[in-house]
C-alpha cells in the first residue's frame, strides 16, 4: 500500500530570502538520505529551481499544465543529476503566461500530494497574494524562511497571517463568521482585529461552535521556521523570538527548525548551479542544511527509507 507523499510548502513572503536555495538543498539532502523526493516550483514568474539543482533546460514544466498541454503533472516531472530527486520545473516560456487560477491550483496541489514519492517540496513565490499563499495549504509542515532583516520579518508575519486566515476561511462554516475572517485579512480593518487572537475573540462572541473549530484549526497549523543567512548569535536567536511572537500574538505554535549560516560556500554553490549539500558537504552551510533536513524528517515521523526493507 502506497502512502501519500508528505507535501512541504516553502514560503516566506519576501523575495530573495533563500526559499529556492533551501528547497534545492533540503530536497537534495533528503534524496541523498534515500528518500524519493520531488521538488516542485510553482512560481511561474521567478522560477529557477531547476537551475539550482543542475537542470539547465528542463523541457516539460508547469507552464504546460497551466496552458493545458498536459493535465497530468506526472508527465512533466524531470530527472535531476541527483539520484532520487525529480523536479517539476516552472519555466517562463511565454511572456504573459498566466498564473494558474484557483481551480487549477487546487488540481495541481491534489496531484502533487498524490505523486509517488516520500516528500514533495514546493517552492512558493514571493508575496502574500492568495495565488501564492494557497499553496501553503498543501501540507501541514509548511516552512517559512526568514533572514535577519526587518523587511523579511515583517513579510514573514504578513505571510503567516495570510496563510492562517486563508485556512480559516475554508474551515469556518457560518457565512457571518467567514465575513469577519475576510474583514480581518485587511490588516487595517476598522474593527481593530490585528492578530488571530483578536479574531478568535470576535468569532467566539458570534458563535461558540465556530470558536471551537477556530481553535482546532489553530492547533493544526504548525509552521516551521528557518533562519537563513545567520551571521551572529543574535540572528540564531531570532527563530526563537519569532516563535514566541507567533505564540503570544497569533496563538500559533511554530517550530524552529534551525538556521543556515551565511557562508561563501553557499554562494559559490549557487553560482556553480549545484546544491551545496551535494557539491560541498563539509561546508558550514551544508552541515546546517543537513541538520534542518534531519529535524524536519524527525518531526514528520517518516521512517528511515533504508530501514524500510524491500517490501
Amino acid at each position: 500500500v502506497r502512502r501519500q507523499a508528505i507535501a512541504i510548502p516553502v514560503g516566506g513572503g519576501k523575495g530573495g530570502v533563500g526559499k529556492t536555495f533551501l528547497v534545492a538543498n533540503l530536497a537534495t539532502a533528503l534524496a541523498r538520505a534515500g528518500y524519493r523526493v520531488v521538488a516542485a516550483d510553482v512560481d511561474l514568474e521567478g522560477a529557477n529551481l531547476h537551475t539550482c539543482v543542475g537542470v539547465p533546460d528542463p523541457g516539460p514544466s508547469l507552464a504546460d499544465f497551466v496552458a493545458r498541454r498536459s493535465t497530468d503533472i506526472r508527465e512533466l516531472l524531470v530527472d535531476t543529476p541527483i539520484p532520487n530527486l525529480r523536479i517539476l520545473a516552472a519555466t517562463h516560456g511565454s511572456f504573459g503566461a498566466p498564473q494558474p487560477r484557483q481551480a487549477e491550483r487546487v488540481r495541481l496541489m491534489r496531484q502533487l500530494r498524490e505523486l509517488d514519492a516520500d516528500f514533495v517540496l514546493v517552492d512558493l513565490g514571493a508575496g502574500t497574494h492568495p495565488a501564492v499563499v494557497d499553496y501553503f495549504m498543501i501540507g501541514e509542515a509548511g516552512i517559512v524562511v526568514i533572514t535577519p532583516e526587518p523587511t523579511s520579518i515583517e513579510n514573514a508575519y504578513s505571510f503567516l497571517r495570510a496563510a492562517f486566515y486563508r485556512r480559516l476561511e475554508l474551515a469556518m462554516l457560518s457565512h457571518q463568521v467567514r465575513e469577519v475572517v475576510a474583514l480581518a485579512m485587511d490588516e487595517r480593518n476598522e474593527r481593530g482585529i490585528r492578530t488571530p487572537l483578536d479574531l478568535l475573540r470576535e468569532v467566539r462572541a458570534l458563535d461558540p461552535e465556530e470558536g471551537a473549530r477556530f481553535v482546532e484549526t489553530m492547533r493544526a497549523f504548525r509552521p516551521r521556521l528557518v533562519v537563513n543567512e545567520a551571521r551572529t548569535a543574535e540572528d540564531v536567536k531570532l527563530g526563537f523570538s519569532v516563535r514566541s511572537v507567533c505564540r503570544k500574538f497569533f496563538g500559533i505554535e511554530a517550530e524552529y527548525l534551525g538556521y543556515v549560516n551565511h557562508d561563501e560556500a553557499a554562494r559559490r554553490s549557487v553560482r556553480s548551479r549545484r546544491p551545496v549539500v551535494e557539491s560541498n558537504p563539509g561546508s558550514d552551510a551544508a552541515i546546517y542544511l543537513e541538520r534542518v533536513a534531519r529535524k524536519l524528517v524527525a518531526g514528520l515521523g517518516r521512517p528511515d527509507p533504508r530501514a524500510d526493507g524491500a517490501s
Partner: protein
C-alpha cells in the same frame, strides 16, 4: 490559547512548570531580548506602551519564578489544575536520520564527530547563542584572538601555550569539555601551524 495578559508566569516565560532555575534564567533572557526595545522580531508587532507592559509582565514572572520561596507559594496558588503547558523551550534535541537520539541538553552539538576545528567551535558557539564579545568579556581573551581561533589564522595567534589556554577558556565558556576540546584543536593546530607563515607582504 490565551492572550498574553491572561497567561500565568510560566506561560509568559514559555517554560513548563517543572523547569529548573537555569531554564528559567535562560528563558527570561531570551524573552527579554525578544521583547526588548529594538528587537528585530517584535518592533513591527508591538509598540510603545504595549511593549513596556509586556516587559513588565516578563519581569514580574521572572521575579516570582527565580526566587525559590516566592515560586513555591505562587505554584500552590496556581493549584494542581492544569498540567504544565505543552510547550518546550529548549532547542529540540539533535536528531539523526537514524532512530532519533534524544538529548536533554539544549543547544547540544554532540552529533558532530571528528576534531574541533575553528568552524566547529564557531558552530558550537552559535548554537548556544553566544557572541564572541560575550566570551571575550567572560574569559578576558581579546575578541580578535577568538576570531583567529575560529578562522584558524594560526600565524596571527601568540605562541602555542597561549593558544591552548584560549581554546580551553573558549570551550569552558560555552559549556564544552575544555580539556578534550583543547586536545582536539591543538592536534589540528600542530598539523597546520607550520604551513602558515605570517605574511608581512602581500603578493610576491
Amino acid at each position: 490559547v490565551k492572550p498574553l495578559f491572561e497567561q500565568d508566569h510560566y506561560e509568559v516565560l514559555e517554560v513548563p512548570r517543572d523547569t529548573g532555575p537555569d531554564g528559567i534564567e535562560r528563558a527570561y533572557r531570551l524573552i527579554l531580548s525578544t521583547y526588548g526595545e529594538d528587537s528585530l522580531a517584535t518592533y513591527s508587532m508591538v509598540h510603545g506602551a504595549d511593549s513596556a507592559a509586556i516587559r513588565e509582565r516578563v519581569e514580574t514572572a521572572y521575579r516570582v519564578l527565580s526566587d525559590a520561596e516566592s515560586r513555591r507559594s505562587y505554584d500552590s496558588s496556581l493549584g494542581g489544575g492544569r498540567p504544565s503547558p505543552d510547550l518546550e523551550f529548549d532547542e529540540t534535541p539533535e536528531i539523526s536520520m537514524e532512530p532519533p537520539k534524544v538529548s536533554s541538553e539544549p543547544f547540544d552539538d554532540l552529533d558532530e564527530a571528528g576534531d574541533y576545528d575553528g568552524a566547529r567551535l564557531r558552530r558550537a558557539r552559535l548554537r548556544r547563542g553566544v557572541d564572541l564579545d560575550e566570551i571575550a568579556r567572560r574569559t578576558k581573551v581579546g575578541s580578535n584572538y577568538l576570531t583567529y581561533l575560529e578562522d584558524e589564522r594560526f600565524a596571527e595567534l601568540p605562541p602555542r601555550v597561549y593558544v591552548r589556554g584560549f581554546v580551553m577558556a573558549f570551550a569552558a565558556c560555552i559549556g564544552l569539555d575544555a580539556v578534550s576540546v583543547a586536545e582536539s584543536y591543538m592536534r589540528r593546530y600542530d598539523a597546520e601551524r607550520p604551513r602558515q607563515r605570517r605574511r608581512f607582504y602581500r603578493g610576491t
